[in-house]
């Protein structure tokens, strides 16, 4: 497959030809492969390494209507110092908030090295005009966001209007300036793995720096097979175009086991190159405390109760 990528966005037909020319994904086979990788047994030293890597990859997220400056401040403190009792615990990758909370997060995280990510583009549904989406992106970037998590227009995608989706992503990317763009596919609404692969390609072609599974508001979210399909997509995209794109599963990653399964998937699908917070993120919040508990258990041989870890 050697698509002519230069003029791919010249028309909806050209885009459709390219996306529908991608190899299909067999659901049974993809599920089996993901399940098999889920049986990998990660113990002792490799588990310790995986836990610290997973912590460094977390995009600590709060996306509630009830979010307040206080809540965001608390989350930022947690991001910088996940375990106040243990300074050897690494910082997380980023804090992810709604646009109006960006300035609070920027303030709280100044100088910490933890990045600020903001959802934008009428998250989570994406049902608004392009002008509003671009304006919202510009607002978040202006407030200091390092990363923008946008949603694609699933309605346009499912009705075959790939060009509309492409142009929206490209416009938001332009509005991002130097901020990194993560493109949320909302795989739970795309339903088929063929669609997931096509949407991932569409996002990459349009300039996305990351492809992200879900908003966390729709089930199913970051399943193993969906993440597998997206990893295969970024691997193929790199080999064809030479451009490397990151992957962020988000939603439903609750336990250390879930997180480690994701890392195994990365390790055995795309390899070392993506085992880095610059190229792989875990969109989650509750998983952090489980990672901390497992980390302490591994170091001390004992489990501490949940009251020994902060709820933020």
């Amino acid at each position: 497959m050697t698509p002519s990528l230069a003029d791919v966005a010249s028309s909806n037909v050209a885009l459709r030809n390219l996306l529908h020319g991608l190899p299909g994904v067999d659901r049974v086979g993809a599920d089996q492969r993901a399940a098999m990788l889920g049986t990998r047994s990660i113990k002792t030293t490799s588990k310790a390494l995986a836990i610290d890597l997973a912590i460094r990859m977390v995009d600590l997220t709060t996306l509630e209507g009830a979010d307040t400056p206080g809540k965001v401040r608390a989350l930022c403190a947690k991001a910088v110092r996940p375990d106040p009792g243990d300074p050897s615990v690494p910082k997380v990758a980023a804090v992810c908030v709604y646009p109006d909370m960006v300035s609070r997060a920027v303030e709280a995280l100044a100088g910490s090295g933890v990045r600020v990510a903001s959802v934008a583009t009428a998250f989570p549904s994406g049902r608004s005009s392009l002008e509003v989406k671009v304006a919202e992106t510009a607002f978040a970037v202006g407030a200091g966001a390092d990363e923008i998590d946008m949603v694609i227009d699933r309605g346009a995608f499912l009705s075959g209007d790939y060009l509309k989706v492409f142009e929206e992503i490209a416009a938001v990317k332009a509005a991002c300036g130097t901020a990194h763009l993560k493109v949320i596919l909302e795989t739970g609404e795309l339903a088929t793995y063929d669609n997931v692969r096509r949407a991932a390609w569409l996002a990459m072609l349009a300039g996305g720096d990351f492809v992200k599974t879900s908003t966390g508001k729709v089930q199913p979210a970051a399943t193993l097979p969906v993440t597998l399909v997206m990893l295969e997509a970024v691997r193929d995209f790199l080999s064809i175009t030479g451009r490397k794109v990151g992957v962020k599963p988000a939603g439903g990653i609750k336990t250390t086991k879930d997180a480690i399964k994701m890392l195994v998937l990365v390790n055995e699908t795309v390899g070392d190159g993506w085992l880095d917070p610059d190229w792989f993120r875990l969109g989650a919040s509750s998983v952090l405390n489980d990672l901390l508990m497992q980390r302490q258990k591994l170091a001390t041989g004992r489990y501490a109760g949940p009251d020994y870890f902060t709820l933020d």
Partner: protein
């Protein structure tokens, strides 16, 4: 690099005795004149235990015990026989970890396979045929089909316990009694199964296990009081057996070798096709009669597929079979390793190009790296002879008709795989492929409800499913 720390399954769950006797008439008995032989762990060459190679006199005793038990067992109502089979199935599930570890120790296959594939299938097979025991009148073989009598069963070393289940479960469900000979390199799970028969209170003599090699097998095949021979193994031995039983009135089913084609079209789901090809030939170190040992790939996608396949092979984990993260275990025996090496060298000598991923092999034990041959022609030995190892021959085709022609151009006919997103092409291919099993967009999937067996030199008779009953009924 994300290295996985060793994650070995514990050997402590299994208790291997220093030596085993023969299981005849429900108890452990001494051999009359048989010699003791070691059975080794192929991953380390460590001796695990000693078993006796049964003599003609031993086989005669075992057949006698089976004959004696046949009267009682065949007279039991099917629903009563079912109870025993259900009980055996449940005990297998309860002791599955123990059985899986023992299988891996004696055979060399990765614990992931014995735990996730072999043992669940073994239990499922007993459950499935337990269900048939009281419904034989509805199987399509008349209102009250009768059993054959004493079945002599000879099984191979690649799936020791699973092949035992394929043989014993339908035989018992139909009311036969059995004398089973496991392979000489992998007798231990069959002997543990004998303990399970005792634990299940199976009437004495219904199942008899005689260990040994070719001579023991020959004694069983030639015994005049055996009514049925069921054999899984090489085509060469299958021929000898067919000659031996010819004219004796014994019923015979043979499940022999294969040289299956895994056919990948250019519209296949590529990543899953690669997985299927890997699973087709490297599952169980390629010690699978239905292994997809010939990859037929459409020329328009050959380069892309091969590149993906090679990339995938570099992630295969070869090593300690008891490690839960091992994908490829040990070759079962020195003799088999020699055969794989010989055929691989022939492949190179005939001009095919050999490739293996960088893959350090353990120092002790029998090991062979996953290997691909490209530029293989139909006339090469590696395209025609069964290697029975982790060696894949890659050939190309241009049209569906050529794929069918090449796939069928083999003396074997056990299985085939078709990879395409086009449903109508799957059906078109399945119609024309002369193979007992045609997998579509998958490979090496087994289920007790599905009949299995070959065309041509791959044998005759079917095992599994309703069809599998026929081999053990007088119809």
């Amino acid at each position: 690099m994300f290295e996985y720390a060793p994650a070995p399954e514990s050997r402590a769950v299994v208790d291997i005795r220093p030596s085993y006797r023969l299981f005849v008439g429900g108890e452990w008995t001494d051999s009359q004149g048989g010699t003791a032989h070691k059975t080794v762990n192929p991953a380390s060459e460590e001796a695990l235990s000693e078993v006796v190679w049964a003599t003609e006199a031993d086989v005669d005793r075992a057949v006698g015990a089976a004959r004696k038990a046949f009267g009682v067992w065949s007279a039991l109502p099917g629903s009563e026989r079912a109870k025993y089979l259900f009980r055996i199935a449940r005990i297998i599930q309860e002791r599955s970890r123990e059985l899986a570890v023992l299988e891996t120790l004696d055979n060399g296959k990765p614990i992931r396979e014995s735990r996730d594939v072999d043992l669940p299938l073994v239990a499922a097979h007993f459950f499935y045929y337990a269900g048939w025991a009281d419904k034989l009148g509805h199987a399509g073989y008349g209102p009250d089909p009768r059993p054959l009598g004493v079945a002599g069963q000879i099984i191979p070393w690649n799936f020791p316990l699973l092949m035992l289940a394929w043989k014993i479960a339908p035989a018992l469900a139909c009311g036969n009694t059995v004398v089973l000979k496991p392979a000489e390199t992998t007798p231990l799970t069959a002997l543990l199964f004998a303990e399970i028969c005792q634990q299940a209170d199976l009437p004495p003599g219904v199942v008899n296990i005689v260990t040994g090699a070719g001579e023991t097998g020959a004694a069983l095949v030639n015994h005049p009081d055996v009514n049925k021979i069921a054999f899984t193994g090489s085509t060469e031995v299958g021929r000898q057996i067919a000659r031996s039983v010819a004219g004796s009135g014994k019923r015979l089913t043979l499940e022999l070798g294969g040289k299956a084609a895994n056919i990948v079209f250019d519209d296949a789901a590529l990543d899953q096709a690669v997985e299927g090809v890997v699973n087709g030939i490297f599952f169980n170190q390629g010690h699978v009669c239905c292994a997809g040992s010939r990859l037929l790939v459409q020329e328009s996608v050959a380069e892309e597929l091969l590149e993906a396949l090679k990339r995938r092979l570099t992630t295969l984990r070869l090593g300690d079979p008891l490690d839960k993260n091992t994908d490829i275990g040990a070759i079962n025996s020195a003799a088999q390793l020699a055969k794989i090496r010989e055929l691989s060298e022939a492949g190179e000598a005939e001009g095919a190009e050999r490739w293996s991923p960088a893959c350090p092999l353990p120092e002790r034990g029998y090991w062979f790296p996953p290997t691909i041959f490209t530029g293989v022609a139909q006339s090469h030995r590696i395209a025609r002879e069964e290697v029975f190892g982790p060696v894949l021959s890659v050939l190309t085709f241009r049209t569906p008709a050529e794929a069918v022609e090449k796939a069928n151009n083999t003396p074997y006919g056990l299985s085939a795989g078709v990879w395409t997103e086009k449903g109508s092409r799957i059906l078109w291919m399945a119609d024309r492929l002369r193979a007992g099993v045609v997998w579509a967009n998958t490979f090496n999937r087994f289920d007790p409800t599905s009949p299995f067996g070959g065309y041509k030199e791959s044998g005759y008779g079917r095992e599994g499913g309703r069809h599998g009953l026929e081999a053990y009924l007088d119809v």
